[in-house]
Structure formats: C-alpha cells, structure tokens
Symmetry: C2
Subunit: 316 residues, 2 copies
Amino acid sequence: MKLATLKDGSRDGQLAVVSRDLTQAHFAAGIAGRLQQVLDDWNFLSPQLEDLYTALNQGKARHAFAFDPRQCLAPLPRAFHWAEVPAYPDAAERVLRALGIEPPAALREAPAVVAAAGDGLLGAHDEALFEQALPGLDFGPQLAVVSGDVDAGTPADRALDGVRLVLLANAWRSGADGAAPPAAFAPVAVTPEELGAAWRGGRLQLEIETRLDGRRFARLDAAAGLRWHFGRLIARAAATRALGAGAIVGTGTVGARDAADGAGCIAERRALEAAASGEAATPWLAFGNTVRIEAFAADGASVFGAIEQRVSERDE
Amino acid sequence: MKLATLKDGSRDGQLAVVSRDLTQAHFAAGIAGRLQQVLDDWNFLSPQLEDLYTALNQGKARHAFAFDPRQCLAPLPRAFHWAEVPAYPDAAERVLRALGIEPPAALREAPAVVAAAGDGLLGAHDEALFEQALPGLDFGPQLAVVSGDVDAGTPADRALDGVRLVLLANAWRSGADGAAPPAAFAPVAVTPEELGAAWRGGRLQLEIETRLDGRRFARLDAAAGLRWHFGRLIARAAATRALGAGAIVGTGTVGARDAADGAGCIAERRALEAAASGEAATPWLAFGNTVRIEAFAADGASVFGAIEQRVSERDE
C-alpha cells in the first residue's frame, strides 16, 4: 500500500492512504491519525489500512478525494531515529581518489552510521532554506526504509523482515560544517509488498532521477551500486542498540557503480570534472535553483511521487 | 516543577508530576498522558501541571503515591532530536594533549553538534547492555535541556528562553566505532524556574557526582568548566535548522576547568594518568560495574534523582 501525511496545521499531520497511481487519497482517520501510531501497532493497524487501500484502488472508498502532493508533509514528519548508512562506496571512492585521497578500506568493508535529528523533516515541496549561498550546497538523493522494532544485534536476513515502508529522500548537504536544512521526503511511503518484483533481496530495482532546474542531472540504477542491501543497513544501525518502530535508515547519496553512468550529486560530479580536466565546472547549488528527485519503476511509473524543492535564502 | 515518566508497558509511559523532595508523585492523566504532548502544547498544558505540582507539594493532591525512581522511563523516552554540543573544551584539550595531539583551536572557538538517535532512551535504572567488554567502555555524565520550538538562526540570548526542562544524562561511550547503548536519563525533569538561584545565565550551579561501584569517581562543578551557556548550545543546534519542541541538547561529558578537580570520565582520567606516569592505571568499565550519577544543589539536595546503571552483557 501507499501512505501519505497531509498538512492539517498540526505537527504530525493527518495520515491518508493513497491510490497506486497517486491520483486519489482517503484519510485514515477511522484507523489512525498519525503514521507513528501505525508503526507502533503495525500488526493490528496495517491490515485495516490495506483494506482501505484495496477499496480506494477499486474506486469503492467512500470519501476519496484528489491527491495533491503539494499538501504533503513528509510521510513521517517527526522520526525518533533517522540515520544514513552510506552504501554506495564506489562513488565515495571515486570522489576521494579525484581529490587525491586514497580511500580507506573500511569504506567498502563495513558500513558506518551517520545519525541526524529527526524533527522537522521536510515535505516534498517544502523550500530548502540556507542562511548563505556557500560553496558546497548540494542534494543527496537516496532511498530509505522505515523499520519496525529491531532488537540489538539482529542479523541482516532477519533485520530485512523489519522493513515496514520504503521512502525516497533528499538529504541536503552544505560546506565544511555540514550545516543544512532537514532532509526532505517524497510524498508517499510504500510497503515492500507493493513494490513487487522491484523489491528483491533487500534491494530496489528502481531508477532515481535527479533534475536541476528542469534539466536531467542524473538517472541512476538504485540497485547497481548498492553494496549492502537494506537488511545489512538496518542490522548495522541496530548492531549495538535496538531500533524502535519508526526508525528511518537511508542509503546515503545514491551513486553509480561506474562513473560513466553519472554522478549522484554535485560533489561527485565536480570531483570527477576536476580529476579529468583540472577544473570543476558544475556550480554548487545557488538560491533559486529547483531540484526534482523521483524514482521510477521498470514500467515508467513514479513510485513515491516527486520531491521538488527550491533552494532559498532563509529570512532572518 | 518536576516531571517523570512512569513505566506502564507502553512506549511512551505515563506522565507524572513529582514532589520537590522526590518522595511523592501524581499521574498527570487528566492533563496529558505523555511528556511530548506537553512540549507540543506547552503554554496551555504546563500551567495545569504547575497547579498540580503546587497541590502535590502542599500535600493536597488527591491521588498521590510514593515515587519510585526504579519505575521510571527516561522523562522523554523517545525524542525526535537528541544532540550533544560538547561544551567543556578544557577537559577535551587535556585529553588530546595527554595523547600527544595539539588540540585544534576550533575546540574552544565554536561548539560542534553531535547528533544521536532519540529512540529507546534509557531510564535511570535500566541496564547498560554491551555486546562485548571492549577497551573504551565509559560513561558520559552531563546536563541537558529540552527545548521548545526554536527558529533556525535564533541568537543565543533568545534561544535561552526556549529552555523548557533540564535533565541529567549519561551518554555511554565505547571503543573505536562508538558502539554503545542509548543514553540514560535521571528520573526527573526539572523546569528552570524550579532551579532558582542554581540556574543563572543559562548555567547550572550544581555538582555532578559520579560513583563507580559505590566509590566516588568525581564530583565536578557543572558550571565552572562550561565554556558556553545553554542558550549558546541551543543556538548552535538551531544555527541552520529549526528545533522542534522536545529537542534534547546535552553539554557532552562534564569536565573540570582544572585537572586537579578530577576527571569527568574514564577516558580523561586514563589520559592524564598516562601523561603523568606513562601508564593508564584506571581500567575501562567491565561487566558487573555499577555507575551512579547524581546532581546536587548547594543545599545538598539531589535535584533530578540518581542514574544508577549496571554494565551488562547483552544476550544474543
């Protein structure tokens, strides 16, 4: 099934079920008001949402309305746990080599965990506000999963069973001190079952397309360069502490296996340009740029809806 | 006022008001079930809790019961934002110098932010579970504040107005990869007003005592070595992104201004021992050790109740 959280003036928004083709929605109010409630009590509440989802797709849901992704908060607007476990070492190694740094072996031997704050996660069409246009403003397109409860030390294969929902995210980056707005999330969260053949062994056979001011920046196979499947990434985040229901674990910025397939972010493209020609030609993001990120299934369908954010100056 | 969250089998527990002397408690059920609810709607709900607190202290609360700190979850058992902003650079510099490393100037020029996951925060008497007894197992006693909503870019003096509650925390540390259980929190959260003269200019005039297996390890003045007051720490965490109500900001491990006053953690003491005699004599924590951390006001009262945790091996 597909779920979204609609703006209603509250901090956590209003949970809705969204039709497979992203055209219709129906509030889940009779079942649960907030997505975290569903994650806290998944086995009891998710079958009820599945029933509503089936009715909605059959055109039989009573109070369906047109789905407007611009009215969405992040599917989980506040998360108790949000971490990236960078899983595309080929791209990371290319960047380091281009900068003249020998990549540490650890980069491809074992995943690391980078925790971030989980409050104020941005909706798909929220502006990305920066204080200054600094060198280093960049996007970070990636897939992420929302887990159920996962015990500390759970092995990767069992950790994979803990995946409740899949998300598309954009983790903003900036210059040296990493100062950036919170990550943004595509309008719709999707269950692994809904992904069908695209979800295989904890990898997603999807293409992630990033557009900058309408022009394609990259279209990357999300599975090709992924060194560790999502079970491994969750197991890593849960290696020494349990994960509570609703933990979000992202892959870090998507990257290609081969440089010829494109760069996942501006930092990678600039590093490759500098290595090839001595000069990084692609500019960093500037105020007024618009970034659009979308994930496509083999049949060309947009799975999560699009993230589309304008880079803007924060008012003081 | 003083607030605690009691275990009731749910993820977020049951909010209670606790008497000034930590002997009596009263559920806040008629006002709010969870602390996050109160933080989300502070101006409306906190005066009602204050009234209950007054009645409880006067012995007039209807359904008061004996307060048992062993029944406490962390005051905020799940936080959407939990970050340390290390604020004791003197101690950090001593450790680096003892290790033969020249401390970077940044350490005392500007605070940094270290985010962590906010799910599964431990109660004061929960065991600290580690997979292995590795070199580097250590405690991290510190004060922390819970903020209200703080806009991105709020200056330090106004950020200080965002402090809703003060907490006593123990952030566990381990060896090289930082693998450790979640931080633990003393049973009771305290409003700044309740702290009276001990809360001055965003600094807490309290002594933090750490005991290891019953023996005093250190008793440190929490204000003396604190380079930045809590307004600065919150402003740093909110420099580039808003903080949502309920964000927890800690000082990092407490440290003395002068080495003669003691070490805040085992890592610091070992570094000083090694520098003085060539050998670090104090062992790292081992399974079976018990750590007790408590903060005392000038009148000798325990302000937040004690953290008392046993270091144990996690069952596989």
